[in-house]
Every structure is written in C-alpha cells, then in structure tokens.
C-alpha cells in the first residue's frame, strides 16, 4: 500500500488529508501523480515540493516501494 498525504492548501483542494493506493511492482512517483491528477483535475497545480518518506524528491521517475509515504506539498509558508 502507498500512502499519499496532503496538507494545508493541497488538502483543501483535494478535500482529503490522506489517500491510499494499491502498490504494484515498478510503480513510479510519476504514475501516482498522474493517477491522482485524473481523479482531482487541477488540484495539484500548486504542488511545489514532493517528499517520499519525508525526504524531498526531485526525480519523479523514482521507483516506489510498498509502504512508501508520499507527500504532495504546496510552497511552505511557516515562520
């Protein structure tokens, strides 16, 4: 199972804080983003940062592993 987390402005657009996707062998970050984007058109246009297991990731072709935790995040505005 892959967990996808949403916070703040992204959570508001998706109207969810978390989704779970079935893990399939060879699945990439790109696959997850495309799939969620079809379910929620436009919701992810504000995503500026992506983390996998709490580490920021720049390469969307990255292969995922079962039980990975993904976060699709808007620009931070803390402080």
């Amino acid at each position: 199972m892959i967990r996808v987390l949403f916070f703040g402005p992204v959570a508001e657009r998706v109207q969810a804080r978390e989704m779970q996707l079935e893990f399939t062998q060879g699945m990439t970050l790109h696959d997850v983003i495309v799939r969620l984007g079809m379910q929620h058109p436009g919701a992810f246009s504000i995503v500026s940062f992506i983390a996998v297991n709490q580490n920021q990731i720049h390469d969307k072709k990255m292969a995922l592993h079962d039980n990975d935790e993904i976060a699709l995040m808007a620009k931070f505005s803390g402080g």
Binding site: G8, A51, M73, F76, S77, G78
Partner: protein, 141 residues
Amino acid sequence: MIEAVRIQQEDFSQDAEIAALKVGSQRIGGIATFLGCARDFSEGREVLQISFEAYGSMALAEMNKLRSEAMAKFGLLDARIVHRVTTVRAGDNIVFIAAAAEHRAAAFDACRWMIDELKLRVPIWKKELTPEGDSWVTPHP
C-alpha cells in the same frame, strides 16, 4: 530538559529557552534570537487569526537538520528552534530561533540564516483568517 527543536501548540518562554541554551556552555558571549509574531495586518488586509498546519514528522526532521547545519556552518555553541502549530491572534508568538556563539557576528549570521532557511525548507503552512474570508498564504518568491 526541554528539547532544542520542537513543534508545539502551546506558547514558549524566551527566558526558559535562553536558560536551556546557557546550560551547555560558559563560553557563550552572544545569543541572537528571532521571535516571529502574528500581525493584525498583512498585504493590506486585516487579519483576525492565523492558523498553522505542519507535516509534523518531516518538519521536525528538517528543523533538526537546520539546527545541525547552522551549528557546523557558523561554529555555534548551541541553537534552538521552536515553532508553534496552532491558531494564533495578533501579538501571539509563532516561531523562536536562538543562536549562541562565542562572538556576536556568528550568532547574528546563524540566527538570520536559520529563519530564512526555515521558511524555505520546513513543511509548515499558514492560513490567514480575515473579515473577507480565509486564505492560505502564498510566500513571495
């Protein structure tokens, strides 16, 4: 002993943070701090409340990294970072950063670097509640 890096709902005390900093070393000559507060006004609009949300586990990990990096980069004796995640009103404390060094230049440089980097790197978001409605804050580039 309170942790040097924390995310918490409740307010914090500068006196307590400074006391905790000083426990570690008698070689501290200067402590620079930054306290971020909620303003009643932002981008021309009245702000009633500010509500924070964090990716807690990642935010805490990034804040710990930030502290370690600052300590190495500026040769600090100690540093602390505390961020509240809750709903605050004008005048309330939001974030506290302290850098302790032998001399003041390093303390100032490190404190400023930590708050600048925190804003760029730590997954926390704020929403302003105004009389015209709520809106998530979009940081300037």
